[in-house]
Symmetry: C2
Subunit: 183 residues, 2 copies
């Protein structure tokens, strides 16, 4: 069974080096944990505004690409239609985002920030920065670069084969955009 021993930080060596290392050392497990940690930190920093990282991502994207439609927004963030509809729907319920059917293509639902959405985005800017800083705090500057470079390479390589590859596609159509921007 092994005796008990503990350390200040991290998972017990005992459990990590045993056969269960098959779990802990698994990249998938570590990435899931990292995701958990990142979400938790963001939630802490963003407690007042009550925004999730994804909601913040949608608001950011809408600030950058006002009048974009749901599908294109999904491609921007790597989210499928259903998920985008869910996140946007909740933001819309809270009055942060405006949805309007495109007059040019009535299948498309165009999105834009409402005034409250713009305010929320600006107000959350600091929180997002701090969350990012805290997440990578354990690493030195050069290590962060290293880590992010490697991570980016993994993502770039797999991106094309994901269900919703990330890409900006072509969104710009002033005619489509027009009525979404009118608040």
């Amino acid at each position: 069974m092994g005796t008990n021993r503990s350390r200040q930080h991290g998972i017990d060596r005992w459990v990590r080096d045993e056969r269960l290392g098959a779990i802990y050392r698994r990249p998938g497990f570590m990435i899931r944990r990292a995701h958990q940690v990142a979400i938790g930190i963001f939630a802490e920093e963003c407690a007042d505004l009550d925004l999730t990282p994804q909601q913040h991502g949608v608001l950011s994207a809408l600030a950058r690409f006002p009048g974009i439609d749901q599908i294109s927004l999904g491609r921007l963030l790597g989210l499928d239609r259903s998920t985008v509809a869910g996140v946007v729907g909740r933001l819309s319920d809270r009055g942060l985002v405006r949805r309007s059917v495109s007059r040019v293509d009535r299948r498309r639902l165009l999105l834009a920030l409402r005034a409250a959405g713009t305010r929320a985005l600006e107000a959350s800017h600091g929180a997002a920065e701090r969350a990012q800083e805290r997440l990578l705090a354990p690493l030195s500057a050069s290590e962060r670069t290293q880590f992010l470079t490697l991570l980016e390479r993994v993502l770039d390589e797999h991106n094309p084969s994901t269900r919703v590859p990330v890409s900006h596609g072509s969104y710009a159509d002033p005619r489509m955009t027009a009525n979404a921007l009118r608040e």
Copy 2:
């Protein structure tokens, strides 16, 4: 609006270098994507058995620690009570896991693999290996080590402050374990 240009791999430079880089370069975003990718790959490899990474994790942990209770299992995997109950419940419905109330402490729900669970775990071993291999395929051997080392450091540092820190705790109590093992 900027002109169009594209590359074989990865996110368009155009979109990545613009102000939206504030999203794409954000570690949180990249980690979410990595999580997405990891889950997708595992699902592909494990299509026959229809096991999720978390379900596989639970089965692995139960093989290693038969008769463990739900809370301890959660600490092992970094999952809260509700989530563990959900995953275990589904595995139990499928006849892979056995649940039994501890006679020593009637609050505890002890878990163990059923024969079908052991079979599923063994059958999924190859898939889990392949998924892991595919995920890190874009990196060389030394880069993988580097990447995982940095990732591990981030996790170790944040682990204590997460809602459910990962640790093995003390699970071994033969009396508690006894009736969970009887199939």
